[in-house]
Symmetry: C4
Subunit: 332 residues, 4 copies
Amino acid sequence: MRRAEEVLPPDVFAYFAAGAGAERTLARQEQAWDDVLLRPRVLQDVSTTSPATQVLGQPVASPVLVAPTAAHRLAHPDGEVGVARAAKTAGSLLVLSMRASTRLEEVAAEAGPFWQQLYVLQDRGVTDEIARRAVDAGAKALVVTVDTPRVARKRAGFPAALPRTGIVEALDHRDVADPRLMQAADVGPRDLERLARAAGLPVVAKGVLTAEAARDCVAAGASAVIVSTHGGRQLDGVVPAPLALPEVADAVGADAEVYVDGGVRTGSHVLKALALGARAVLVGRPVIWALAADGSDGVRRLLDDLTSDVEESLALAGCPSCSDVGPDLVRR
Amino acid sequence: MRRAEEVLPPDVFAYFAAGAGAERTLARQEQAWDDVLLRPRVLQDVSTTSPATQVLGQPVASPVLVAPTAAHRLAHPDGEVGVARAAKTAGSLLVLSMRASTRLEEVAAEAGPFWQQLYVLQDRGVTDEIARRAVDAGAKALVVTVDTPRVARKRAGFPAALPRTGIVEALDHRDVADPRLMQAADVGPRDLERLARAAGLPVVAKGVLTAEAARDCVAAGASAVIVSTHGGRQLDGVVPAPLALPEVADAVGADAEVYVDGGVRTGSHVLKALALGARAVLVGRPVIWALAADGSDGVRRLLDDLTSDVEESLALAGCPSCSDVGPDLVRR
Amino acid sequence: MRRAEEVLPPDVFAYFAAGAGAERTLARQEQAWDDVLLRPRVLQDVSTTSPATQVLGQPVASPVLVAPTAAHRLAHPDGEVGVARAAKTAGSLLVLSMRASTRLEEVAAEAGPFWQQLYVLQDRGVTDEIARRAVDAGAKALVVTVDTPRVARKRAGFPAALPRTGIVEALDHRDVADPRLMQAADVGPRDLERLARAAGLPVVAKGVLTAEAARDCVAAGASAVIVSTHGGRQLDGVVPAPLALPEVADAVGADAEVYVDGGVRTGSHVLKALALGARAVLVGRPVIWALAADGSDGVRRLLDDLTSDVEESLALAGCPSCSDVGPDLVRR
Amino acid sequence: MRRAEEVLPPDVFAYFAAGAGAERTLARQEQAWDDVLLRPRVLQDVSTTSPATQVLGQPVASPVLVAPTAAHRLAHPDGEVGVARAAKTAGSLLVLSMRASTRLEEVAAEAGPFWQQLYVLQDRGVTDEIARRAVDAGAKALVVTVDTPRVARKRAGFPAALPRTGIVEALDHRDVADPRLMQAADVGPRDLERLARAAGLPVVAKGVLTAEAARDCVAAGASAVIVSTHGGRQLDGVVPAPLALPEVADAVGADAEVYVDGGVRTGSHVLKALALGARAVLVGRPVIWALAADGSDGVRRLLDDLTSDVEESLALAGCPSCSDVGPDLVRR
Ligand SMILES: Cc1cc2nc3c(=O)[nH]c(=O)nc-3n(C[C@H](O)[C@H](O)[C@H](O)COP(=O)(O)O)c2cc1C
Ligand SMILES: Cc1cc2nc3c(=O)[nH]c(=O)nc-3n(C[C@H](O)[C@H](O)[C@H](O)COP(=O)(O)O)c2cc1C
Ligand SMILES: Cc1cc2nc3c(=O)[nH]c(=O)nc-3n(C[C@H](O)[C@H](O)[C@H](O)COP(=O)(O)O)c2cc1C
Ligand SMILES: Cc1cc2nc3c(=O)[nH]c(=O)nc-3n(C[C@H](O)[C@H](O)[C@H](O)COP(=O)(O)O)c2cc1C
């Protein structure tokens, strides 16, 4: 992050770093993971350990996925393609943002397994069109972000006309000012149902923080949910992800996969997430900082490091694999 | 606040900023709101949202009211009239302090809906006279402050003879030193009853922090109570408002409206207040800082910003209106 | 305190300021009071309020007593006599330390009501002799410190040979090195019993932090107990006084009076102490700092200020007198 | 520590000081002890007190043992022999690290009672050989570290080729790069059983943090367990030792002795450990800092100081001996 702050123009850095509102949620998200306490096992055979797991049946090298974040070309010319290549090499899974600065087909061409993140736009036609393009390009799931009926005000927004243009172009639409390309305020169960049916792909609902919200998404057909504060960029003052995770896992864990993001930075954090009921985590800003600092290579190193770190944490906790992690591994 | 500190004479700034005693209550009031955690809803239709609500039947643009604070002309020549105009334009409700530096009739002439705050003075005759003048001037309710049987010592009091004179003149009384114009130490249920009966207006009891206190006020005829530490300016070391709010709402919520103030600064805070049982909040110092910095215009901008912020928070929490906010919206 | 630090030689200041061990108990004692939350009453008649109370039947102007602290002449030439006069004028009660730097008879001659603090010394004969001298000089109770079977190591001890000589001379003994003048490590119930019987005065046990300890003292004849960490100067890492107070009050409150000290600095703190079950508080270092800064006058001002502050706190909490304070006044 | 930082080369200091991962466990370990609150007894006869105790039947001057730490010759030429002499003179017990920079026979020749710490190595033959050599040299117990199926990554590893060579030479093996001399990842119950049987000595399992782990070790034949986070050098983010201690003591306290380490720095901390169920504590880094600063003499002074500090804490808590400390001595 420090290196990214050096290399990026201040407004670009601020855009990526910002949280919504008074940034309380942002300020606390790493601490919330640190506050969870691990209870390691001993005398287990961890001579062969593996952080590999599966998300919706998709094998991944570790339970660390790439969160959908916007406008990678603002961070580095390697952009989304660079991130895609890095994720592929590292055996991770890319969740490609709908607000990417590169056409999804271009990214898909270089990507390993990827999921397409979607905002439900005011224009459902365009929304469905992007979903269809993603299916055609090989996306394995649709990640529908449900915590953004509108984009929250932040101290720093898109830093210039440029990227927004880039984003709209990436959607194959030209009109920057078109409000129908903005997030829909009435995204509802029916959108999840329609997208799932139309795409013939599993739908992942991103941005739940309560049992009720998770149940609503699963009832609407979601195969998985992501417990997320949107990196502290939507409603400020919400419950941190690690506190929300157990109630979500209890509520829908039997019927859906549960992932989590927000402030996950170390193998130890990942282990805690698994113990609290998640199958995988996503990382957002660390990918951007690595991209800004060293392009695609930086992202690959970051992902490899996280994989090693998870593997080490598993071993030190006496767990040969992710599926060995259980609720006894955290203090309640 | 920073701007206000620059433009105001140090003793005036200190007077507005000060808390009582060791300022522990003051120091913690924003943090106490930050510590409440929101549980947002998803998949709700928030295409039309409105922060509008009613307080004692009075429609307001948002649940953010202007708290009664003394001596606005010390902050800016626009004074209480400027604040009144701003509140009117912003669709808010002004609670006019009895310690205003402007005659209430002058303020009322420019104000939208307003409530008159009263201290019960040692001279009940003067108290009732002010109440009557307020009724005549169009006040919609009387806000009787019950946490001030005397004014607590602070590191900074009224900064000069001037404002105190101003205040006494605003009461149409001339004798600065008259102790009968000071707060009565024996304000009791009978005062609430008498004022309510005489004025024919609803009475709001300002400054309760316990279920018992709230019940006493409602038993004495209060139509509403304000959970308040008086901005940390009366008894130091009391329970912060957000911690007191639930017990008050439980105790009297069925019989009276409940409002809250003290450290409320963001839409997220307002949402928390609603979820904990309040119908509206009041803001004190932010109005003074805005007034000091930019006069009436500054206050209007502040109130408009808070309204927008509440509106955004409602939308992001999945609540089209204030009445959709319920206790499930906060983690207990 | 700041002024005291300026006027005192560094080793003298350090001696007064020091806590035992790693000074954890010292570091937290004020915070522990701040963390207790008050629940004020409203609509009470507080036109006549008084902080006056009685301790063991002795009327005092407020529930703030002067804690026994050693070697006042190190702080200021006015010494114990100056403190005694100040306490008398302020209507407080002096607890005179056995480690005073002035003969108790000299202090008694100028004092109002006072209690004599005693350490049980290895030489019980000398101990009893001092007790007898105190009785003769008019002490109204004996305060036997039970938390000091030996003096804990501190970063700063008695700063020079001088004061220790002074202290020994005050005992009418000349041998500085005499171990029999040191605290006895076997102070037990029998000492309390014997001192009570011999003196014909009530005995107050100073330095309990648990229900068990309080019960043992009362069983041995104590008429009152002081919940105290000895100002953080004995065992480090103990429970702060406000946390210990409720269990002590529950255990012995029906049979004995309960006082508390350690970090009490404001009227708000005193109110909390009363609500948690204490009848009075003692202040230690503030007296020393006031003495160092301004001699006897400084101490009187401090005590008068604390009395006013308690009186104000009572009024603001809706309590005309100390006996109106009950457990409902604090949040549990 | 400050002095050690001055005299040691930065990379050596960093090696000793480092914790694993983000060093969260390291950062919190002293605070976790500070947060435990003592409940002292009064009116006990503490004229003769002694911090002496026994560990596995071995009398020691105090419940403070020397934790096994690697590579003492990096800290000071006195190395392990210096530490052994200091422990002997101070009446403490040395737990000699398998990663010592001196042959165990050389250390044993100068040591008082000592226990040999073992990692189970990939080459069980070498492991058993070291165990046998330790038995022959007079070790009174084997301490098998169970929290290190591999060495966690740290910001600073062994600072140069030199010490590692030293360590390997101390094992009477020459091949620095030999992976069979690294920690085994499959250390299991059978290793504890085999080592216990072969050595005919009690086995102590070092590095448990849960009831389950402790039970597994005792079931595998351990006579004692050490609750330990390995000084924050293995899995980061685990439960601090004082929080883990009670559940371990409850689970196995009836069948095995329980010790604890990690951040223990004062007599007050030791008392807390005893009250929470430990029979003794171990200190790691303080020994290294003392060694670095003043060689063997420094270590002796440290151990003597800790013994005095424990003795004083016992006395101030009203406990003549370690066996008088019970669970009532801490607030739960
Ligand atoms: C700059 C930025 C852009 C983001 N863009 C999107 C987006 O387009 N769609 C989305 O669902 N989430 C978006 N997110 C949220 C991330 O997917 C993720 O929830 C969050 O970044 C995780 O927190 P972390 O950054 O602390 O790892 C964005 C986050 C950041 C920081
Ligand atoms: C300078 C100042 C003057 C005040 N004057 C009054 C007053 O005259 N009457 C009253 O009931 N409350 C008064 N209050 C308390 C406010 O109504 C309100 O409870 C408090 O300011 C809310 O906290 P906030 O400033 O953190 O928003 C005053 C507060 C301040 C800061
Ligand atoms: C310098 C100093 C000397 C003290 N001497 C005595 C003493 O002689 N006898 C005694 O019982 N307590 C003694 N105490 C403890 C006080 O009576 C009292 O418990 C403590 O100071 C209260 O805490 P405070 O200083 O935070 O108000 C002493 C405290 C200090 C700071
Ligand atoms: C530099 C260093 C080396 C260590 N080496 C070993 C070791 O070889 N074997 C072992 O079981 N523990 C080892 N430990 C852990 C200690 O035995 C002990 O658990 C820890 O240091 C206690 O925490 P403290 O340093 O805060 O007192 C080491 C610790 C440090 C700091």
